[in-house]
């Protein structure tokens, strides 16, 4: 019996989304990484119930062009923009030259008290296109924040891109500074 075979087709020849990999965090990790099989056109990453090891942190995404051996983190490797909405109102968030794509709008507003954490859906619309806009994402996320960041519920929507050449074939999600101690990541592929 085969499970999660991403090449299987519907009897009518139509392909449904395949769950490529689930990563359930059961011990502290600095980042969660996925390879992106190149026979898929689009990818969707569901992130849910992520708790961090410390209060007041962000969450970001980086990409790899060598199958996950290394992840780009140069000063101008990424550009992203969007908005964040919370108790402080709606604010524009953006960075035209960053070391990562922020999934929370830059400000470290993820809390780690009881009930606080991070959830998101990330759409990867063309990671495998070397000569085009290489990597675009839309992230919609919400979380409860406390501590020094203040606020309560925050919501953000971000568009971002990898600004260098190369076919993106892996991604890495994390905070750069603290660990992820619980949560689940589900990566889906669509043809």
């Amino acid at each position: 019996m085969r499970i999660d075979n991403p090449t299987l087709k519907h009897p009518a020849g139509r392909i449904v989304p395949a769950l490529l990999k689930s990563s359930i965090i059961t011990a502290a990790v600095s980042r969660v990484e996925f390879t992106l099989p190149q026979d898929f056109t689009f990818f969707i990453l569901h992130i849910r119930n992520v708790r961090l090891s410390a209060d007041d942190n962000g969450m970001n995404l980086r990409v790899s062009t060598d199958g996950g051996v290394s992840f780009a983190s140069g000063a101008s490797d990424y550009a992203w923009n969007g908005f964040r909405n919370g108790t402080g109102g709606v604010v524009n968030v953006q960075d035209s030259a960053d070391t990562e794509i922020s999934l929370v709008g830059g400000t470290p507003v993820i809390g780690n008290a009881t009930g606080e954490g991070f959830n998101a859906i990330v759409y990867m619309l063309n990671p495998g296109q070397d000569n085009n806009s290489r990597f675009m994402t839309n992230a919609s996320s919400s979380w409860n924040a406390g501590g020094a960041s203040g606020g309560n519920l925050n919501n953000s929507e971000i568009g971002g891109r990898y600004a260098q050449n190369g076919t993106v074939n892996a991604i890495s999600v994390g905070t750069n500074t603290v660990n992820l101690v619980s949560g689940q990541f589900d990566l889906y592929g669509i043809k």
């Binding site: 519907h10 689009f42 524009n92 960075d95 619309l125 000569n131 806009s133 839309n138």
Partner: protein
């Protein structure tokens, strides 16, 4: 033995789809998308899709969309006759878009009476190079109406005509025909043709 029940619930991931061979299955999303059609665009004025019956929602993924003329804007119109004609009246559509680039920031763009639903932030418009290409996810909530206006949502990201990272989120509705059933959608530019790009249509039951 053959199992064809596509909606059997799974303990953790919603649905399991069974195929001709019941010993082979794959776990799928809570909202399984079935690919309906794909348009590989080369030099088109409009890109049209027919929305077949039997789906509750439709989802379109757009990638690498490039117009011939830089700075143009992308819109969506609907058809009530499976793509034979598309609604383009002056008050047929309403939309509310929130978007911007890394210089201007997000701004509000609202129109209660337009000839199409706007799908990109217009400060820069769409760019003509590959690295400026437009990418988006478009979700159609209730194409077959019956209770309210057919509505769509769009999340887009591109590197606009001036080379600035640009993102937008928009909602729009066809308001020209009450709660009419929509059986087709058209993507169009406010000026000129598409040069290239790809649009994929998926149905969600």
């Amino acid at each position: 033995m053959r199992i064809d029940n596509p909606s059997m619930p799974h303990a953790n991931h919603g649905l399991i789809s069974f195929f001709e061979d019941p010993t082979i299955f794959t776990v799928v999303d809570d909202e399984p998308r079935i690919k309906i059609s794909q348009s590989d665009i080369t030099g088109a004025t409009n890109v049209d899709f027919v929305l077949p019956a039997g789906f509750h929602f439709f989802e379109l993924f757009i990638r690498n969309l490039v117009p011939v003329t830089g700075g143009t804007d992308l819109g969506l119109q609907v058809s009530l006759d499976s793509g034979a004609t598309f609604k383009a009246g002056a008050s047929d559509y309403a939309y509310a878009l929130w978007g911007g680039d890394t210089t201007t920031g997000f701004v509000n763009q609202i129109d209660a009476a337009n000839t199409f639903i706007l799908l990109n932030q217009t400060t820069n418009g769409l760019g003509t190079t590959g690295t400026q290409a437009y990418n988006a996810r478009v979700f159609i909530f209730n194409p077959f109406g019956g209770r309210m206006f057919p509505m769509i949502m769009c999340h887009s990201s591109n590197n606009g005509s001036t080379g600035l990272q640009t993102a937008a989120t928009s909602a729009g509705a066809y308001v020209g025909g009450g709660n009419a059933s929509v059986s087709g959608v058209r993507f169009l530019l406010n000026s000129g043709n598409f040069e290239r790009g790809e649009i994929y249509l998926y149905g969600i039951r």
